[in-house]
């Protein structure tokens, strides 16, 4: 499956990844085209009836009782934040 310039722009937007120029986007179109050509070898394999493998040991998520086990460490965890106030993370205004 070929990848178009518009696909790269769409993926970049979905990933909230800024691209600085058309030339940068074009470079990724070239790279991703080659990578997806390599990946397309998968399409030749018959996988009818093969269950997808998402965990190498086929393990499923373990459940635990819904009990509080962690203590509040907000100050420690916010110490590495770019900008906080009153225990909140600050971002540019979202709601006018």
């Amino acid at each position: 499956m070929a990848i178009e310039h518009a696909d790269v722009l769409r993926a970049a937007h979905l990933a909230r990844l800024g691209l600085n120029s058309d030339a940068e986007a074009a470079g990724y179109v070239d790279d991703l085209t080659r990578i997806l050509e390599m990946v397309d070898r998968l399409q030749a394999v018959d996988t009818d009836g093969v269950a997808p493998l998402s965990h190498p040991l086929d393990a499923t998520q373990r459940l635990r009782p819904d009990e509080v086990t962690e203590t509040n460490q907000r100050e420690a965890f916010q110490a590495c934040a770019p900008e906080t106030a009153d225990g909140l993370y600050l971002v540019p205004r979202v709601v006018e």
Binding site: A15, L17, R34, M38, L42, L53, P56, P82, V91, P92
Partner: protein
């Protein structure tokens, strides 16, 4: 003492030949003197290391006999270390001081080990040459015009250069085994789930696994015993008893059945690498092992399946770097979208962006079934190849990489770099353990023999690797000081 194994250093400490402080100081001084050019460390934690060494010496004087106490090691900068920069090789985390320790870091501290610092790596562990690091490439101590391999290139180079007797690495598609091969050291990727991933910065969560890198299989056995085990904080870690990995090291190899996957000896394998691997197999035959050819018929699909699954998981994992809670943030964002987009454009390097874009594309509407679901189906076929082979043989052997370390700057095209991992990637998809041990040289550059075992067969792998190291001395070679100065 710069090229001694952990086992030898432990004896030296016990006999009082040197103190932990003397050992630690000597290594720190050597790093300071010689690492400027090799670039294997991102952060050296001199003061913390010396305090920990003093504490170990005091504990030893009071009778502390823990086997690893007072021994230094280096930690790949992907593991969170409280209060110490944990960069993951990225500008995104250049200012990040982890607020907590990874489980394996806690366990090594509890064993009394001393961290010398954090080693260089490909950015977010995405690479096979250590050239994608924000902190610059690492040079191979055996030949400074060559890469050390990646992504745990700093850890491998630090051991080869005599800076640290051991290190922690991580392996998502070969990132312990390939740099171990390129740098002439021993590196073990454990079974998926054997070692906790808590506090290990996530790249591809169904593939990532931490493990030991050292100068011998025996040392890897010591380290694996210290870091393995179930962890309530990692829901994918496996609740299974940790055996004594030293117990079986000396078991004889009479009757061991070794399978040679024919796909690992085909086109693209360097002839000098192949002859070293064939020679290593002959050593095993002389030790009583039986050798036969096996087939892993889906081998050619491993790199394609990996380059769907790993970027897909990465694109999801790396969405957390948004400039809000930690890490890099762009200046003066106009609005929230600008904050996200510019922060990520500035904080991530080229290879990371490439993988985020592939992963986002293949997971997006209209492409998911053709790529992600298909790759997961092929993943099951790849795992089944190994399960079938282990019905016939005990272990598999082959080269860890198709060539020795390549030249710095040689692989500009991403696909040619990805194909470097052709012999290591399937192992992560299958979740089985693998170890690379030194098995010779082509010119100045080391060659690694890869040994693969069944899920949770680490004791056997370590036994098989250790017996080879009793019969050969490739693992005792190190670059001469002229080469490292």
């Amino acid at each position: 003492m710069h090229h001694m194994t952990l086992t030898e250093l432990a004896k030296g400490l016990k006999a009082g030949d040197f103190s932990s402080r003397e050992l630690t100081t000597s290594l720190l001084d050597r790093i300071e003197r010689l690492d400027g050019d090799i670039n294997s460390f991102i952060t050296v934690t001199r003061n913390q290391a010396l305090s920990a060494a003093d504490a170990a010496d005091q504990a030893r004087a009071k009778g502390d006999s823990r086997p690893l106490a007072g021994l230094p090691l280096a930690i790949k900068d992907i593991f969170c270390t409280q209060g110490i920069r944990t960069s993951c090789g990225s500008k995104m985390l250049d200012n990040f001081q982890a607020p907590y320790n990874a489980t394996v870091v806690e366990k090594l501290e509890a064993a009394g080990m001393i961290s010398l610092g954090k080693t260089n790596m490909d950015e977010f562990a995405m690479g096979s040459s250590n050239e994608s690091s924000f902190y610059g490439p690492v040079k191979n101590p055996w030949d400074r015009t060559a890469v050390p391999g990646g992504s745990s290139g700093g850890s491998a180079a630090a051991i080869a250069a005599g800076f640290a007797p051991a290190a922690l690495g991580t392996d998502t598609g070969g990132s312990i085994r390939q740099p171990a091969a390129f740098c002439g050291i021993t590196g073990l990727k454990p079974t998926y789930g054997r070692v906790s991933r808590y506090g290990m910065i996530a790249f591809a969560s169904s593939l990532d696994q931490g493990g030991p890198m050292a100068r011998s299989a025996e040392d890897c056995a010591h380290l694996l015993g210290a870091i393995a085990g179930h962890d309530l904080r990692d829901s994918t870690s496996v609740a299974r008893v940790v055996p004594d990995y030293l117990a079986e090291l000396d078991a004889p190899l009479d009757g061991l059945k070794i399978g040679l996957p024919k796909e690992y000896f085909g086109n693209g394998l360097d002839t000098e690498v192949e002859s070293a691997i064939r020679e290593a197999i002959r050593v095993y035959e002389s030790l009583g092992a039986k050798v036969c050819e096996v087939s892993l018929p889906h081998t050619h699909l491993a790199v394609p399946a990996y380059y769907v699954i790993a970027p897909a998981e990465a694109s999801s994992n790396l969405s957390r770097y948004d400039g809000v809670r930690f890490g890099h943030r762009c200046e003066n964002p106009a609005d929230l979208e600008d904050l996200y987009k510019r922060t990520r454009a500035e904080g991530f390097g080229d290879e990371v962006k490439r993988r985020i874009l592939i992963g986002t594309h293949t997971l997006s509407e209209g492409f998911f079934d053709a790529y992600y679901r298909k790759a997961q189906q092929v993943r099951r076929l790849i795992r089944q190849d190994f399960l079938d082979a282990f019905d016939e043989v005990d272990v598999l052997m082959g080269p860890a990489a198709p060539t020795t370390a390549f030249d710095l700057g040689a692989k500009k095209d991403p696909v040619s770099m990805y194909l470097q991992d052709i012999y290591t990637i399937a192992i992560n998809l299958a979740g089985i353990p693998g170890i690379s041990v030194p098995a010779g040289f082509a010119g100045k550059r080391p060659i690694g023999l890869q040994i693969l075992g069944q899920h949770f067969a680490e004791s056997q792998l370590l036994n098989v690797a250790h017996q080879f190291q009793q019969a050969t001395d490739w693992h005792r070679r190190h670059p001469t000081d002229q080469e490292t100065t």
